[in-house]
């Protein structure tokens, strides 16, 4: 089940167990395969391990057990190819312009002390315009709405020309009216990029993504059998909602423990 059909595997987790407190793993024996140009939503309740899963993929957290492979290498080695969009924190204030935020996405490619070069600035402007927030480049980041901040953070992730886009709770900061256009944007980006997002808001994502997996310490993917559906429910994954989403069913991965 692990091989991707035509396209290649971009992220592969094999028996990954990780957490912060030695006695209590937050994610447990996770197997997950993400194929190129997939659009995957990982859903799950708060505290279910969504952020931990992202941290493991990003190489910010080293798993206790198992291996993480990103684009054929370690997460650390593939950093430049992964664009990360953190959760928008609404009340945060910091004296920084939108342009300066997006330029952070060029730190890796600039790779030298001193000021950012012209190519870095051009890449920042290009991605701000691509996300329809080009006119905000000189604005104070604090003056933006949640949705605008989100677009700026996506532009920052894209500025480094990634192959994979990882988003943490992207729906939380988008209001209902703009949700449709937000997902259209992600779908458009998905034509070139592999998109993985984590969210607790199943209703918002179910009709927009290609695949869904559910995490609550263990990982349960949508395509699994009926027996895993009951397990999924027992673990707090809202399975009914997924089943009615009209998503192509495919096995993404499964936890060994679920099958017992």
């Amino acid at each position: 089940m692990n091989g991707c059909p035509g396209p290649e595997t971009v992220i592969e987790l094999d028996g990954v167990t990780a957490g912060y407190d030695r006695n209590r793993p937050v994610i447990d024996a996770i197997d997950l395969t993400v194929c190129r140009n997939d659009f995957l939503a990982v859903i799950g309740p708060n505290g279910g391990g969504k952020t931990t899963l992202l941290k493991v993929m990003l190489g910010l957290l080293v798993p206790w057990e198992g291996t993480v492979t990103v684009l054929g290498g370690t997460p650390d080695g593939s950093r430049g190819a992964v664009g990360y969009v953190p959760q928008v924190i609404p009340e945060e204030t910091f004296p920084i312009t939108v342009m300066d935020v997006v330029l952070m996405g060029r730190l890796q490619s600039a790779r030298r002390p001193g000021r950012f070069g012209r190519r870095d600035r051009e890449a920042a402007v290009r991605n701000l315009e691509r996300l329809d927030v080009g006119e905000l480049a000189g604005s104070d980041m604090n003056s933006l709405s949640g949705g605008q901040k989100q677009r700026v953070l996506i532009a920052r992730a894209l500025a480094g020309s990634p192959e994979i886009l990882l988003l943490d709770e992207p729906v939380a900061s988008v209001d209902h009216e703009t949700q449709e256009s937000f997902f259209n944007l992600l779908a458009e980006l998905n034509e070139e990029l592999t998109v993985v997002l984590v969210t607790h808001d199943v209703g918002a994502v179910s009709s927009h993504v290609k695949n869904i997996a559910c995490i609550n310490r263990l990982l349960i993917s949508h395509g699994d059998s009926i027996s895993s559906e009951s397990v999924a429910r027992a673990y707090g994954c809202p399975f009914e909602l997924i089943s009615h989403g009209g998503i192509p069913h495919r096995v993404l991965g499964r936890s060994g423990k679920v099958q017992d």
Binding site: L58, G59, L60, R79, G80, V82, Y84, P86, F94, P95, I96, T97, D100, V101, L103, M104, G105, L107, Q108, A110, R111, P113, G114, R115, F116, S139, D140, N142, R156, G160
Partner: protein
């Protein structure tokens, strides 16, 4: 003004202007990194170094600097593991440094006047060594912060993202802490140990209300710190009051006024 013809007044003016540059830049970084407690802790710990210098008979500035740097490294080592432990470590270092200093100074038989000068500043008694210390520190801070501005900005704004972009976050925090320690020691000469935090915190707090980017905040903070220092120095000379305290009172008054202006502005908007 005739008082400017006195050498001690010229020295005081030079040190306070030079210290304003360091205070504005480092104070801004301290503020946006939310580390004023840490700066206070480092400044107070350096008092232990002063005591040691008096007992062992070497330059107090050297003793204070050494202790400040060592304590900032200690706090950094503890805080890399847990944020709550960092809080405890800062409080412990703060008080232990003061206690060590007091005991050692008593044992050394130094006059209380010397002690008071470090606690409350001795702007009118600064030496050419202090001016040199301030000038070199300014040059180092300007070179480091200008050279790595984008990295300092990134680390302050979003540590996790900086790490993902391959920025050596821990190294930048260590460099930042050392510069903070050196600045704190310099400011002890101006406002005294007890009021160091005010000099690092108040100008950036005002500047943050009126600027939208980090470098503008640094520039405005430095300008404000310089204005407070000059005004405080002259007013203190005129009224025969301790300059460090007058500088802080002026800063606090302007901060209060800025808060009112800010409140009014956001009220109208």
């Amino acid at each position: 003004m005739g008082i400017l013809s006195y050498t001690f007044m010229q020295n005081a003016l030079a040190v306070s202007l030079l210290a304003s540059i360091a205070a504005g830049i480092i104070g801004t970084l301290v503020t946006v990194n939310r580390m004023s407690a840490l700066a206070g802790s480092i400044a107070h710990a350096s008092f232990g170094g002063l005591g040691l210098a008096y007992v062992a008979g070497f330059n107090p500035l050297l003793g204070a600097t050494g202790f400040a740097v060592i304590s900032s490294m200690g706090i950094a080592a503890v805080s890399s593991r847990s944020r709550r432990k960092a809080d405890t470590a800062m409080a412990a270092v703060w008080a232990t440094g003061m206690a060590t200093g007091l005991v050692l100074i008593k044992l050394s038989g130094t006059y209380t006047a010397d002690l008071m000068s470090w606690l409350f500043g001795s702007l009118l008694a600064v030496s050419p060594t202090d001016i040199l210390y301030a000038a070199i520190l300014d040059l180092v801070i300007l070179a480091v912060v200008a050279g790595f501005y984008k990295e300092f900005l990134a680390v302050a704004y979003d540590q996790q993202y900086s790490r993902l972009q391959g920025v050596p976050v821990t190294l930048f925090m260590v460099v930042f802490l050392i510069l903070t320690a050196l600045t704190a020691v310099l400011l002890m000469r101006v406002t005294g140990l007890i009021m160091v935090i005010a000099m690092l915190a108040i100008p950036p707090a005002i500047a943050e209300m009126f600027t939208g980017s980090l470098w503008k905040m640094m520039v405005l903070s430095s300008v404000l710190a310089a204005l407070f220092s000059i005004a405080g120095l002259f007013l203190a000379a005129l009224l025969d009051l301790p300059p460090g305290a007058v500088i802080i009172l002026i800063a606090a008054a302007v901060y209060s006024a800025a808060l009112v202006v800010e409140k009014a502005r956001s009220g109208w908007a």
